[in-house]
Assembly symmetry: D2
């Protein structure tokens, strides 16, 4: 299993008039967590797109347990539970600065050839870097 933690400070723009982080904004937080996880792995997502491979999201689900609030310092615990093939699954746990569990989520993405728009294999370099975490 590969895992990585990312911290995100809640912005004022991300709150709504209920005083909560708007429920749609966690998708952005999870994307930030994925990007930082790839950077930490040694293969920035930006590089992947430059080499012609994108990672659109196929499925996304989230269960909200408590609201996050303005200026909270959230920790996104990301995991890649299985060695990916054409698809890659990520799980997320969000906690706030008091250790309270805010929500849990999951996304499935696909490696896509950005020219053809078709699914492709996991890039060889990403495969190699990830494998060391699954032996």
């Amino acid at each position: 299993m590969y895992h990585h933690d990312t911290q995100i400070r809640v912005r004022y723009a991300e709150t709504d008039q209920m005083g909560y982080v708007y429920y749609g904004n966690y998708a952005t937080y999870f994307e930030v967590a994925r990007v930082e996880a790839f950077r930490h792995l040694g293969y920035p997502y930006k590089k992947m797109e430059e080499e012609g491979v994108g990672m659109p999201v196929l499925e996304y689900q989230i269960k909200y347990l408590q609201p996050a609030k303005y200026d909270d310092l959230l920790t996104i615990k990301l995991a890649i539970p299985e060695m990916p093939k054409a698809r890659i699954r990520f799980t997320y746990e969000v906690t706030n600065q008091h250790g309270a569990l805010i929500n849990t989520g999951e996304t499935t993405l696909v490696f896509m050839n950005m020219e053809t728009g078709k699914a492709t294999r996991i890039p060889a370099e990403v495969n190699k870097l990830l494998k060391t975490y699954f032996d």
Copy 2:
């Protein structure tokens, strides 16, 4: 079953550099569909909050089938499949102007007393309006 269709034009701000509607933005589209469904029912969501009842989201899931693109005119087909109690479930189907299915989603929300932050019953007036669709 209660259902209602809402049309949404994709904004430039909602695209990302892949040229797609960013995957996180559908949560906002679904919220717009819920709001328009309540307005059409005869009980605007704004009125509900003014009377002290909010509707935070407990669960959200979405499956992405095809990307939506800039300036697309999307139709959000919303349904309330069961008569709600403390919780209310909505399903969504998004199609574009060519009739292509873009994604399908589902959210579960709870009626919440906004003063206490605790779950409450469905407001009596909403209950009455919805019941006529479930007999």
Copy 3:
């Protein structure tokens, strides 16, 4: 002078915990107003990009007079005060459903060749359509 009015319903996602439309969201509303103004003129902005011309923003300013709130039905009064050349200036007045003036804004954009990233002339067809409003 060319002018066009666009109506926008404030989304829950666009509010912040002050209960106002977040101050950054008007840039999106103004973009929607520009897009609808071009559509009404007879030359959709989408077509312009498909023909290789984009319109990045060079300058933006806004004065906030009153807050807009959730579910408000705003009217964006857009004007193109002068016949554009390489640059095009838009002015905006936002009012709510009670006629109250919410804010006034202004943007200057440039016509850009999207391949070279350099400024270009106003597309001939846009020029022709706009000219009829400036004689």
Copy 4:
């Protein structure tokens, strides 16, 4: 003069299909810079709202010089050029990781009593903390 630098990593969600940071997103970046500047000063903005004082924006302007792009690491150089009274002016300079100037901006905010919605004086503690930078 008081000044403070904040670093912000561009998120995928913040790009548009032109491949640039959407022009409206800098308002959020500037808000983050203000919040971090107040935290660094010793008086978090969150505390100010908890004590009943908000800071709505009255005026905002920005000149775009170059686009920022996905994954750029931006530096927001914020300054408070004059000792504030009921109003407070901030200026901003955004540069990317190569030192290129991306844009320059300015906002004027007002201290507001959040119960009455009326302008109020700068909170005494903020006044004291800021004064040491203007002697």
